[in-house]
Point group: C2
Amino acid sequence: MPEYTAPVADLLFVLCDVLQIDRGDFDSLDRTACAAILTEVARLAEARLAPLNRTGDLQGCRLENGVVRSPEGFPEAFAEVCAGGWYGLDCAPEHGGQGLPHMLHCAVGEILSAANMAFHIHAGLTHGAYGAIAAHGSEAQKALYLPKLANCRWTGTMNLTEPQCGTDLGLIRTRAEAIPDSAGRFRLYGTKIFISAGEHELAENILHLVLARLPFAPEGVRGLSLFIAPKRLPAADGSPGARNALRAARIEAKMGLHGNATCEMVYDGAEAELLGAPHQGLAAMFTMMNEERISVGLQGYAQADRALQGALAFARSRTQGRAPGAPARPDAAADPILVHPDVRRMLLDIRGFTEGARALTLWGAQLVDSARAGDAAAAARLSLVTPVIKGFLSDKGVDCCLAAQQVLGGAGYIEEMGLSQILRDARVTTIYEGTNGVQALDLVARKLGANGGAAMLALLDEMNRLANEPDATEALDEIFLAPLRRALEDLQSALLRLQAFGAGDPEAALSGASDFLHLFGHVCLGYMWARMARAAASLPEPARRAKLDAGRHYMSRQLPATALHLARIEAGAVAALPLDAGAAE
Amino acid sequence: MPEYTAPVADLLFVLCDVLQIDRGDFDSLDRTACAAILTEVARLAEARLAPLNRTGDLQGCRLENGVVRSPEGFPEAFAEVCAGGWYGLDCAPEHGGQGLPHMLHCAVGEILSAANMAFHIHAGLTHGAYGAIAAHGSEAQKALYLPKLANCRWTGTMNLTEPQCGTDLGLIRTRAEAIPDSAGRFRLYGTKIFISAGEHELAENILHLVLARLPFAPEGVRGLSLFIAPKRLPAADGSPGARNALRAARIEAKMGLHGNATCEMVYDGAEAELLGAPHQGLAAMFTMMNEERISVGLQGYAQADRALQGALAFARSRTQGRAPGAPARPDAAADPILVHPDVRRMLLDIRGFTEGARALTLWGAQLVDSARAGDAAAAARLSLVTPVIKGFLSDKGVDCCLAAQQVLGGAGYIEEMGLSQILRDARVTTIYEGTNGVQALDLVARKLGANGGAAMLALLDEMNRLANEPDATEALDEIFLAPLRRALEDLQSALLRLQAFGAGDPEAALSGASDFLHLFGHVCLGYMWARMARAAASLPEPARRAKLDAGRHYMSRQLPATALHLARIEAGAVAALPLDAGAAE
């Protein structure tokens, strides 16, 4: 497993120089303050969490008599990160948080996730539960639960999927029955699957957020309510009391993420309370989902960055063959493989992606901050770009993990080198929190047309303004803005085409959904690269040169993919396939 | 793990209708004969090998006191396949083979490999060793070894890589010392790594082909000689005798392919004999390598086809959501997910690739047959397309395995569903037998310019003739030939650009090598699809419709990638990266 070095300098560049975190509500967050925070968490992640990453993969989680044993070292490390307050950065001070912006929470999250994704997921879902209770909970629920969740003294889970029901939540069968004379308490009956961190001993309690149906609820998603079911019922003083009637019945053997128990949870009359209004469970759950989706895009590029670090270190130390021109190390038997253009191509493909993805994700986090502060336009924009950040960054993140593994040649296929684990862990990001196909559907069928397409039009306008900036230098225009202009033309052509398919030919529109998500994703990354190129003047050499090289690589070699995605969208509806296996094909 | 059904009908279509296997030397091989062979091996592969695939993954191989224990069931199944004569189809009858074309060997190989790749690799390498000895061995060596290798009574291995040396074979240190008064016998000293099937008990003996240096050999690759070192030294009657001084010192924990032991082999004075002339080892080894490389491309698409079968079965049985128009199953709670255009897009992306790849690979195998029969132009064309078949088909094969896993959503990430294993097994194909970067380098730096570019020009001419066929129907022209013409224009532009970079700017030419390989690969697949579309008239409905749908999908949605690859080639040299980790980036 390669060492991990947190990209503190690049995070500071994006936070401070590109996105100007200290504008507006967070004016005390200057570069020095951000640097102090990131340097501190980097030390913790590099020294404590990164070395446990392979332990988690090798040992996995074991279910023994209903108890999940986490990998060695996880409980101690979790206690340490909790004690540092790292999980509650953007939680409210009155609930034990630090009141810092979500942007900083995400920057810290990238570091923690890159160091040990399986470990960090425990906290990620807890943060989602915190958000859902903060948004929809009663005052009593907030007072009881938020201080426990803010710093992961208790952790949280999301319970949506059932054996017969994943994407199509209308099929949920788990039911809730009111407990007579209980002042609003219920019992839950049903089985939930694929519950990340569903059971473990890292925290003193686990709060399960569970979608279920009340008696006589309407069919479909409009009949779903959200419940809070604690693993141990809170005693009168709020401390964890008696075990509730719920349990992990099995844990899945997964491709990766072995350090996190993916559980089948059985609710056998578990006591629970409503979170939010009856039959409004989906809206409440989606409060969790949106921020979770951004954090999944983040996981995708964070693993890609860790893979890049491993590949780059290998390419510097492994010697094979000679540079195309003169030998780089004439006194040695061979040159480092980093001299080979195709090796550098792979590494720069990854860097061009990860640095763009970091900027895009933190920009998304900035939208979260603005939306929390009541900015409705930011909320609409966030809603538009959330499926892009989740879907595009996770798809490309997996591609990058493959490319990084490829740099190592045969060594990349050997488990002890760690690149396999990084890929196996990252692989889940295109799948969970809504598959990327679902993200594409959400984008094309819901988000694009919301409010008459206002959010898309406003964003296009902003991007076009940057791409046509009259006082750009010639180099900026040629290398960054001109490719962005071409990509924006493709995006606008794609929008027109989707509009033309419209309601009359939903098959054609939906056949292009994933390609549209990727096309839009490339434009977003091209836009962030143009912003970074403009801000790069603040960087010292050789960082400025390296940043512009990575950007030029992205703009010249990756951004032109917009034309391919446009061509696919224009190809229209994909063919039908027979629904019965018996039919000859 | 999904069931496996061998694609016998499609193999027959390609062999008989597209490639006309019965023309020329194999005129007795009519459709009936081919069908009998493929149906028989399909039964064996489906019933015996496919069910052992997951066993192999779960149990893996264990090294105990120098002996490798294969997964349960492997030894019995191996004996059964050997007894059927399936491994020697294209070996010479005088050496125990069946004298059938290599095309048929590859068609059978696809089935065996898709059913159980880790299992089949034992035989794949043996076939390579057979070929090397047939081409370079003395009469005595041929008489002694070929009958044992033809049907895998003994298996073979390739020993190239050492800890300090993979791609750059000039760095090989294993040395050979002549045994005094031994009539040409040697002792080998050295360590080889990543030796597939280096040790096992499936066969009564293992023949290791080992690259090593004779005393006073020239430095670099011109000082390499190829040796035969049997695990057990042949007794006077040819049967396996005493153990030789070589052993498996460890086996690697790999991402996949657990059913095949990847060994570190230690040669500690092992007795060996020269194969071919001294210092000519590389050429002799490359006799093995070329056919091996085609078989690796085959493995890539074979795994993709197996993944497609699993994904398609899942998409038919899993119900979630509703078709965009009217419900497909109005009486059920939901429709099969196959109704969703994005799910079909993924499935047709894979099918468009696998069916094209099958045709391309069998066309390559036909070139092997022609080259063996002395056709120099076929040999030159084979040399040109070998890196494309290996590199392009394995890259795309892995992409397809990812897409198939994606179709399953969360279930795809669970090991027992089998899609993870298929991806993990397929992952090695872009790496071994020369990484795909090495394939691209081979194509651009060696193969394109060989003999003044004659092979490329002849192939372009043939492709252009088909693409401009005057008597094509309008539908054939619009759907297949017009896209092929556009792709051929991109290919010709790319060739001109590479020529312009030429020797003056090798950095720029090599920066585009992988993109050129992919561009050329797409054109080859587009060419095969045009040939299949022309031949599809022979298919019964609904197979004809399904074939044309898959082809249209490929031509309209995948082939346009040529323009993207051209844009990347035109972007020129990738940036330099500092060779020292200390340098800031």
